[in-house]
């Protein structure tokens, strides 16, 4: 399973960015091989439609789950159409903390 966390930077130690579509990076952890990779979000600086564009990017990458603080209506609809589950995380710390919370299974599905 691939878990994606919108991040302010490219490292798991960087703080999460709670704006899904406008987060500068996506950090993706694959539970199958325990590998973590980061991707720049090219949609982040766009004028509009950033949520669906970011969602399209994650669908292409085969992401299964997004853990985020906030997600807009269009982005949520887009993620769901791509079969990606969205979980809300209210913490403000580093990405690895959000990942830990996601793996522990205690987050609420949006």
């Amino acid at each position: 399973m691939k878990i994606c966390i919108p991040s302010s930077g490219p490292e798991p130690g960087d703080l999460i960015d709670d704006r899904f579509g406008r987060a500068p990076y996506f950090i993706i952890h694959d539970t199958n091989n325990e590998k973590t990779e980061s991707h720049r979000n090219d949609a982040a600086g766009g004028a509009g439609g950033v949520g669906p564009k970011a969602a399209q990017f994650l669908i292409r990458l085969g992401v299964d789950m997004v853990v985020t603080g906030r997600v807009g209506g269009n982005a949520l609809e887009a993620l769901k159409a791509g079969g990606i589950k969205v979980y809300l995380y209210e913490g403000r710390g580093p990405v690895r903390e959000a990942l830990k919370a996601a793996l522990s299974g205690g987050l609420k599905e949006q």
């Binding site: 439609g49 669906p52 969602a55 399209q56 669908i59 269009n74 159409a81 791509g82 079969g83």
Partner: protein
Amino acid sequence: MKIVVASGKGGTGKSMVAGNLAFALSSGTPVTLVDCDVEEPDLHLFFPEGPCANTPVHIKVPHINPDVCTLCGECGDFCAFGALLVGKDRVLFFPEQCHSCGGCMIACPAGAIEEADMPVGTITVSHPEKNLTLVTGTLNEGAIQSVAVIRAAKMMAGNTGWIIYDASPGTSCPVVETLEGTEFCILVTESTPFGLHDLALALDVTMQMGIPSGVVINRSDGRDEKAQQFCREHKIPVLATIPFDRRIAEVQGSGTLIARIDPSWKDRFSALAKDCLALWEGS
């Protein structure tokens, strides 16, 4: 002649100038007044109610045939505005993001996309005065395609006689679309730091578009040195000064045109039109 009334700042008196200008001109020649402030058109309030004809404005949006679509993702990748999303079992379309470019139709290798009409507004045409045609563009609630509605209103207004376009406040796409293809711009300002600040922005737009302009100072308290100085420095003429006058405010506030009830103001607005014509011919 095609004249736009613009300002940058809101509330400086664009509609007041546009309405009076069109009314004054209409006593001698056919005039079309176009309300391009499509988010909140209100010029019709200056004129008697009467019969009008409504025409819907549509934009082209993609319609995806799910039986033909292979979910390949090409359209979603192509769309620069995030209007299309290719999911696992369906394509989502976000109409508010669509710029009607038609590119997704070309990008689709399966031929699954056709263009469909989506309503975004209405053009209303009426003839409230002898010799005066009023064309009003109204953007639908929830729609964001003001430019498409302004373009349709301008098309409906045609190309003959005097055409006065009342622009929206600001200096972005709707104002640029209103100015496109016109011959002169009246910039209405007031002698406040805010009026002057936004006058500079609006003047910049007209200059970049190569449209000659002149300034009308509205609600003048007689201390217009800064506005006058700005106009001198930028070599734009001050076409008229409208005083900060209780009677004008009362007339305006009651939804009436000062040119309708006061012949001297009718003459002043007629003269303003002639000055614009002379400046355009000399430009």
